[in-house]
């Protein structure tokens, strides 16, 4: 099920791994509450991505559309991408000044494994929005950006 894991001895190189993620993103994921795409169709190294999360039901985030920026450097997926919210959001793992998702406060990035994908990051952030410590936090006005 995990993209790019491919068994214990086969390592999918960065670029082919990102091409897989690109194609999966283009097809559309699950119920569509998380999605992502590449920012610059000319960038052969596929570094900059925009992710979208639709706020989960029964939380203060419900119905909101959050945009994030993900940057996959040359060492991805050995190292996690850098992730920051573009849309303003109030969450315990997000820096209030610049929207950066702080690895120390977000387990998936802190304990990153090569098999993890951008989809995993977005899905986990969506779950995080619904966690008890985030679901009722007062939010900045909708449509504002870091």
């Amino acid at each position: 099920m995990t993209l790019g894991s491919g068994g214990s001895s086969v390592v999918v190189p960065r670029n082919f791994r990102l091409l897989e993620e690109l194609e999966r993103g283009e097809k559309g994921i699950g119920d569509g509450t998380v999605s992502y795409g590449m920012d610059d169709g000319d960038d052969i190294y596929m570094r900059s991505w925009t992710g979208t999360i639709i706020g989960p039901h029964n939380t203060v985030h419900e119905g909101r559309i959050y945009q994030l920026k993900l940057f996959c450097d040359k060492d991805y997926p050995e190292k996690p991408p850098s992730v920051r919210f573009h849309s303003r959001v109030n969450m315990t793992c997000v820096n209030h000044e610049n929207g950066v998702v702080e690895p120390k406060k977000f387990g998936l990035l802190a304990n990153w494994q090569r098999e993890y994908t951008m989809e995993d990051i977005l899905t986990q952030l969506k779950k995080e929005m619904a966690a008890p410590h985030n679901r009722k936090l007062v939010q900045p006005p909708e449509g504002t950006y870091f």
């Binding site: 491919g6 068994g7 001895s9 390592v11 999918v12 190189p13 082919f16 091409l19 000319d42 052969i44």
Partner: protein, 153 residues
């Protein structure tokens, strides 16, 4: 380690690629991943890509040879069957793949594709349109891109 379970077939193919390279093609595995090849293809003579050195990357997925290798251009190229990310539209890389084919045959087919662009089965719509509406001009653009991106790089 990562390469200890490399199938015999891949080892054989690699040895032959290195000892008897096909004309105008070189392919060598990376040190840390024997399924990942750095590839160079010289632009065929009498094609718009003549004189160019095109870099590609090739990866043998776990299912290989039951599944096709994955290949793409790293050098920018103006060709109706190659898109902006270097992905290649070639039947043997998709539904016409057969385990009887090899890395060598794939690379030779890509080299042949450079000699014979096929705008009727395009991956880049705009380039294909250009090719069909004004082939001479499209060929000039392809030559220009070869000069810009594939020479002396």
């Amino acid at each position: 380690m990562a390469n200890s379970n490399l199938p015999r077939r891949i080892i054989k193919e690699t040895q032959r690629l290195l000892s008897e390279p096909a004309p105008g093609i070189s392919a060598s595995p990376s040190e840390d991943n024997m399924r990942y090849f750095n590839v160079m293809i010289l632009g065929p003579t009498q094609s718009p890509y003549e004189g160019g050195v095109f870099k590609l990357e090739l990866f043998l997925p776990e299912e290989y040879p039951m599944a096709a290798p994955k290949v793409r251009f790293l050098t920018k190229i103006y060709h109706p069957n190659i898109d902006k990310l270097g992905r290649i539209c070639l039947d043997i890389l998709k539904d016409k793949w057969s385990p009887a084919l090899q890395i060598r045959t794939v690379l030779l087919s890509i080299q042949a594709l450079l000699s014979a662009p096929n705008p009727d089965d395009p991956l880049s719509e705009n380039i294909a349109k250009h090719w069909k509406s004004n082939e001479a001009e499209a060929v000039e653009t392809a030559k220009e891109w070869t000069r810009l991106y594939a020479i002396g790089a």
